[in-house]
């Protein structure tokens, strides 16, 4: 076969995107302006109309960070530990059980009623029980977060496996792949894009569950800090807590997206 119709093949493998990467694009500049306007509005409003008691000014907020630095770091770490470890346990178990359920119908029959029973219950509703059983330490919070992530990931995994195009599985079978090989080399990569979506939902849910359980009973953590601050009407500390949670949740999501984009770099995307 002649190669000329393929053009300069080595070059053709690259990206189609040849736009220069600048530090700040037009779109980026617009977003920065939005943020600046919001901060200006915030300053103006808290200077005049809004009482500190209800919403702190930017200066108060920054000052409180300086004042609480040490305890802030330790609370932040406590919360992050619960979120990350709980989420990982839940997600890994969820994917594992989802795959096992599609692998074997008996495993499916055993686990399906358990999952169907668990799924409709909002995990937050279980917090009182968990405090009763495990106290206000880490254990209960980890289990709770794990359960939340587990349910999301098990359902996502099962649904994703169901929708793997049969043509890939047939092709693998004609080429001699065993069932185990098909799971490893076809099903797992094929469901990865969907799983990444599930993990992003799990991240958001895990933050919500950890904060909620810290509200209800804890001795550390950002949720605990917000709860204390509410009792003493320290709105600036509440806001600092909220902002830190927002930023970290965004960063964790961002990391998941970066790892996810790498793992699914083969997937055609509509940009």
């Amino acid at each position: 076969m002649k190669r000329n119709e393929l053009g300069n093949s080595a070059d053709a493998v690259g990206k189609e995107d040849t736009r220069k990467r600048r530090l700040i694009t037009g779109e980026g500049a617009v977003s920065v302006i939005t943020v600046l306007i919001l901060v200006a509005l915030w300053t103006a409003l808290t200077d005049s109309y809004i009482d500190d008691l209800y919403f702190p000014s930017p200066m108060d907020t920054i000052q409180v960070v300086g004042r609480m630095e040490g305890v802030l770091v330790s609370y932040f770490l406590a919360t992050m530990y619960r979120v990350v470890v709980g989420m990982l346990i839940g997600a890994v178990l969820g994917v594992f059980c989802g795959v096992a359920m599609s692998w074997n119908k008996w495993i499916n029959s055993v686990l399906d009623p358990l999952i169907e029973g668990l799924r409709p219950i909002p995990a937050v509703a279980l917090i009182p029980f968990f405090i009763l059983w495990f106290g206000i330490g880490d254990t209960g919070k980890l289990i709770l977060t794990a359960i939340g992530g587990f349910t999301v990931m098990v359902v996502t995994t099962l649904e994703a496996i169901k929708h793997v195009s049969p043509i890939y599985i047939m092709a693998a079978r004609t080429l001699g792949a065993s069932r185990l090989e098909i799971y490893r080399t076809i099903i797992l990569p094929a469901i990865t894009p969907t799983l990444i979506g599930g993990v992003r939902v799990t991240v958001a849910l895990s933050f919500a569950l950890v904060i909620a359980s810290e509200f209800m009973g804890a001795q550390s953590g950002l949720g605990y800090m917000i709860m204390l601050a509410r009792r003493t009407l320290q709105t600036d500390a509440i806001l600092v807590g909220v902002i830190i949670i927002g930023i970290t949740s965004w960063i964790v999501d961002r990391c998941v997206r970066i790892v996810g984009n790498y793992l699914t770099r083969w997937a055609p995307r509509s940009e």
């Binding site: 076969m1 190669r3 093949s9 043509i167 004609t174 990569p189």
Partner: protein
């Protein structure tokens, strides 16, 4: 003439959403070793279904397929397939796709790599070994698919409208390549069942053309294609070629009118 693939009384019905569909009814066909057989027939007559049954991917409702004397119960890398749709694994590079069937064999990693890079060149994808399928055109993906099916050096190749979506010129090139690749490493001719709706393609490639009836599909006639090999692209213009094409076309048209 010993039958390498023997299809005996194959019937297949599906429980579709709109009730039972009889896709195939009493299909009988023998394909001798080394034959290139083309299967033509109206859309929906069960060509893909028949090929899936030969591959061992679909179970027949009744009847039996034997390959080399053994009943087909499951797929085998000695009997590979090129699908009608796009079956190239999007998460694997071109080289990984082509080498997929070799992973499960006895070949060493080094040999696998050598075979794969030979195949990459053979199907004209030099320089694309590490590209993902999303970076390839439709025709290039089909070539990956072909190379993957050749890689295990099968004695039987099942091809379901492999060139259906290609333009005329690319198609001709791929047909010429296919003729070249239709021998195994040991110089033996592969036994090929090739589904197509392009009659010129069928006659150009085949030793025999099997014409199927509309659903429920069965073999209506099997015609010999007498042209010697190697065949030049220009034989398409000969009167014998066109006469045969006309004959098959008449068969398909009269089927259409009957149904």
């Amino acid at each position: 003439m010993s039958a390498y693939i023997s299809i005996a009384d194959i019937s297949k019905s599906f429980a579709g959403t709109a009730g039972r569909i009889d896709a195939l009814q009493n299909v009988n066909l023998d394909v001798p070793a080394g034959e290139f057989l083309c299967l033509v027939g109206p859309s929906g007559c069960g060509k893909s279904t028949l090929v899936f049954i030969i591959a061992g991917l679909v179970k027949a409702s009744s009847g039996e397929v034997r390959v080399a004397g053994k009943p087909v119960v499951e797929p085998d890398p000695d009997r590979t397939m090129v699908f009608q749709g796009d079956a190239v694994f999007p998460w694997m590079t071109v080289a990984q796709n082509i080498g997929y069937g070799l992973r499960f064999g006895a070949m060493s990693k080094k040999e696998q790599g050598k075979t794969v890079s030979q195949l990459v060149d053979l199907v004209g994808l030099t320089g694309f070994a590490d590209a993902f399928p999303k970076e390839l055109s439709g025709g290039m993906k089909k070539r990956v698919d072909l190379a993957r099916a050749y890689a295990t050096n099968p004695t039987v190749l099942l091809m379901d409208e492999p060139f259906g979506a290609l333009d005329a010129i690319t198609k001709e090139k791929m047909q010429v390549d296919l003729m070249r690749l239709s021998v195994t490493d040991t110089g033996q001719r592969r036994t090929i069942v090739f589904v197509t709706h392009d009659l010129e393609e069928a006659i150009f490639l085949a030793d025999r053309v099997a014409v199927m009836t509309p659903r429920p599909g069965t073999i209506e006639v099997v015609l010999d294609v007498p042209f010697p090999r190697p065949r030049e692209a220009s034989i398409r213009l000969s009167t014998e070629f066109q006469a045969l094409r006309g004959q098959i076309r008449e068969l398909l048209v009269s089927e259409e009118e009957e149904s």
